[in-house]
């Protein structure tokens, strides 16, 4: 069937990660003739979501293929529960009615029950949030791609303060409702937040002209904020560390505050069924406008030549077929080494962990969707971003939560993240029905990911390299790689009343 594949395209996109998919959609939208391929049998590459079965396959694949371990390494999976459920547990069948809220007794999960419900899991390789007024939300709306996806609002932002979890007041209502800060502090905090959002460019320049080489923490101290408030603003709202430069802190705060009040109580949205849905939505748009899709299609060889007047001709060998195009857009992990510029780029690998637990890290009336930002617990650590998603997001069966941990790598994923996990989970295994303060960790996965998020140039004209996932909280880096100005841009997309215009920039 593959042999019907046409061979001549204006643009061929290889890899279905976020950046590649945005480019594919943009090119197709302006009626370029696009072929979009992926060597694997599913969409998303390192941005994919997997059900539990798919995840097991992914783990096996990585562990048996040294080539894959260039991107993903130190991958280790661990169970904290029995293989099979105890017999008596079958009583559960009684409350099979769909909206039974009567589940008094906690379900005892086993590895077998995970396997039975494998379809209900959607576990992300690159979990990310969207800022409600961030560039991705605007792009989804302006391109109509929003209709292909559903979102949930993050219901709360937490931080780790004085050895316990604390909700971070982020909206005006929150600030006034919280009991964690005094009235004087409330006024101080409101004043601070309001002024940061309110500054126009000139006021910004005035206010911060002497702060360029100083830290955000110093600025907050200078403003007379109490240690509690500094903690909220610096770690939870700006997501920074003590070393965060002042202007970066201000920028991050502003981004957070500007996104408040559009869709919910926090600035964030989470895609239903996981972040891995989003690249697929861009692919759908590409297909709707005529893009040809072909998974399971590895490439063997890429050759480039210049025909007259700077016109490129790129040929790709794939499964005994030769494909031709003017522009090749390729994910960095799929790109033949000889096409990449050897110029070194700054990089810091990512430490990641996924946990499945039997309860939320902090009790709540309604099912919560939580962002927790851990300040560094030890000298030399980075901040740790934690996302907890539940059954209402389509991430897991009822009664469970999926919790993601992401940080910049220091040693290895397990060493970097386990101390943080132990603060909020009970990782001892043991009786799941036992009433404990912390939720039980039932399963864990640690891994390190090579950082491929920096833009890399290609040495061949007409070849455009897309970056891989970064450790950031949102998709902004991926979106800005496509929709921004030089030099970061890969190609330039503009939308106006007549549709889109795209210029593929030569990568130099």
């Amino acid at each position: 069937m593959d042999d019907d594949l046409p061979t001549d395209f204006q643009v061929i996109v290889v890899g279905t990660g976020m950046v590649e998919s945005i480019v594919a959609a943009a090119c197709s939208r302006i009626r370029k003739n696009v072929l979009h391929m992926d060597s694997s049998d599913h969409y998303g590459g390192l941005w994919a979501s997997y059900n539990f079965d798919g995840l097991q396959k992914f783990i096996k694949e990585v562990n048996s293929d040294p080539k894959k371990q260039v991107q993903v390494y130190n991958l280790s999976e661990k169970w904290y529960i029995e293989k099979e459920s105890p017999e008596l547990e079958n009583k559960d069948e009684e409350n099979k009615t769909d909206d039974s809220k009567s589940e008094q007794v906690k379900k005892v999960w086993s590895q077998a029950s995970f396997a039975t419900e494998y379809r209900k899991f959607n576990i992300d390789m690159t979990p990310k949030l969207l800022f409600s007024r961030g560039p991705l939300v605007e792009l989804l709306i302006s391109s109509n791609i929003a209709r292909y996806a559903e979102f949930r609002c993050v219901t709360r932002v937490l931080t780790w303060l004085d050895d316990r979890l604390m909700p971070v007041p982020c909206s005006r209502a929150d600030v006034f409702a919280t009991e964690a800060v005094s009235i004087v502090e409330k006024r101080m905090l409101m004043k601070m937040l309001t002024s940061i959002v309110g500054y126009n460019e000139e006021e910004m320049n005035n206010e911060f002209k002497d702060w360029e080489s100083k830290t955000f923490k110093e600025y907050l101290e200078h403003k007379g904020l109490t240690p509690n408030l500094i903690h909220y603003v610096l770690y939870a709202i700006a997501g920074g560390t003590n070393a965060m430069p002042c202007l970066e802190g201000v920028k991050e705060c502003k981004k957070f505050l500007m996104s408040l009040g559009r869709y919910g109580n926090t600035p964030f949205l989470w895609p239903m069924y996981g972040s891995g849905e989003l690249p697929q939505c861009f692919c759908r748009l590409c297909a709707v406008f005529g893009g040809v899709y072909c998974l399971n299609r590895p490439i063997d060889k890429v050759a480039t030549k210049t025909i007259d007047e700077g016109k490129n001709m790129i040929t790709i060998d794939s499964k005994s077929k030769t494909l031709n195009c003017e522009h090749l857009v390729i994910g960095i992990n799929e790109c033949p080494k000889e096409l990449l510029s050897t110029e070194s780029v700054e990089s810091c690998d990512i430490s990641k962990a996924v946990f499945i637990t039997n309860g939320s890290i902090m009790k709540s009336d309604k099912e919560p969707l939580t962002l927790l930002r851990f300040p560094p617990l030890a000298e030399g650590d980075n901040t740790v971003t934690v996302l907890e998603v539940g059954p209402a997001t389509g991430s897991c069966p009822k009664g469970l939560f999926v919790v993601y941990f992401i940080t910049n790598k220091v040693k290895d994923a397990e060493t970097d993240l386990k101390p943080y996990a132990e603060r909020i989970f009970d990782m001892s295994g043991g009786d799941q029905t036992e009433a404990t303060e912390k939720p039980k960790c039932l399963w864990s996965l640690f891994c390190n990911l090579k950082d491929t998020s920096a833009p890399v140039a290609s040495v061949a004209a007409g070849v455009h390299v897309c970056s891989g996932p970064d450790a950031g909280l949102d998709f902004d880096r991926a979106v800005l790689q496509v929709h921004s100005t030089p030099p970061q841009r890969l190609l330039y997309v503009q939308s106006d009343s007549s549709g889109y215009s795209v210029t593929l920039c030569s990568a130099t």
């Binding site: 069937m1 593959d2 019907d4 594949l5 599913h42 969409y43 059900n51 769909d98 379809r119 939300v137 989804l140 709306i141 302006s142 929003a146 209709r147 292909y148 996806a149 559903e150 979102f151 949930r152 609002c153 219901t155 009040g261 559009r262 869709y263 919910g264 109580n265 949205l269 239903m272 069924y273 849905e277 697929q280 939505c281 692919c283 759908r284 297909a287 709707v288 406008f289 005529g290 040809v292 899709y293 072909c294 998974l295 399971n296 299609r297 309604k366 099912e367 209402a392 389509g394």
Partner: protein, 205 residues
């Protein structure tokens, strides 16, 4: 909110099946009353909408096409999400399109909601070179718990009936609350969306 139209229910119906079995023609025939002959791959069609009346109530059917991604078996999983009904189509004059049904079912089982209403459709009954007898299709549908219908988009045979039966059945399910739920408390059933609140939301400009 711009989309507060006059309808009581909104259902998402998706079509799957091999390339060339007539998925787009079925949709076009139903929504526009057209049969475009010699149509190539589907371009620019995202979904089509038709509002029908069941028991005096307006029901809006949003019918999604594969956008050609079925050609090399590369349909996105997200296509199957939040579908209320799924129409699996084969061509009664083309054995290979019938032989692929188990593959399609596997994909449906993997990604679609397990409560989704599933209908098997043998299209192109106008053709004289039938390869799959009606009872074979019927058997297959029965074995896999699907409704079954043979249609001809060209002759407009059973096309109206196909979608009307889907509308009736989905409405029945909606009334007994057996419909797949996608939003917890905020079902897509009434077509309303919230822009503020901690439930789910749709992005609106």
């Amino acid at each position: 909110m711009p989309d507060m139209e006059d309808y009581k229910f909104l259902f998402k119906v998706v079509l799957v099946g091999n390339a060339g079995v007539g998925k787009t023609c079925l949709v076009r025939r139903f929504t526009q009353g057209l049969f475009p002959p010699g149509q190539g791959a589907t371009i620019g069609v995202d979904f089509m909408i038709k509002t029908v009346e069941v028991d005096g109530e307006k029901v809006k059917l949003q019918i999604w096409d594969t956008a050609g991604q079925e050609r090399f078996r590369s349909i996105t999983q997200s296509y199957y999400r939040s579908a209320h009904a799924l129409i699996l189509v084969y061509d009664i004059s083309c054995q290979p399109t019938f032989d692929c049904l188990p593959d399609w079912l596997r994909e449906i089982e993997e990604y679609a909601n397990n409560k989704v209403l599933r209908i098997l459709v043998g299209n192109k009954t106008d053709r004289e070179d039938r390869e799959i007898p009606r009872h074979i299709g019927e058997d297959f549908a029965q074995r896999h718990g699907m409704y079954f219908l043979e249609t001809s988009a060209k002759e407009a045979e059973n096309v109206e009936r196909l979608f009307m039966e889907i509308a009736v059945e989905l409405m029945e399910q909606a009334k007994c609350k057996e419909l797949p739920k996608y939003d917890g408390s905020l079902g897509p059933i009434n077509g309303k969306t919230t822009s503020v609140g901690d439930g789910s939301c749709c992005l609106r400009s």
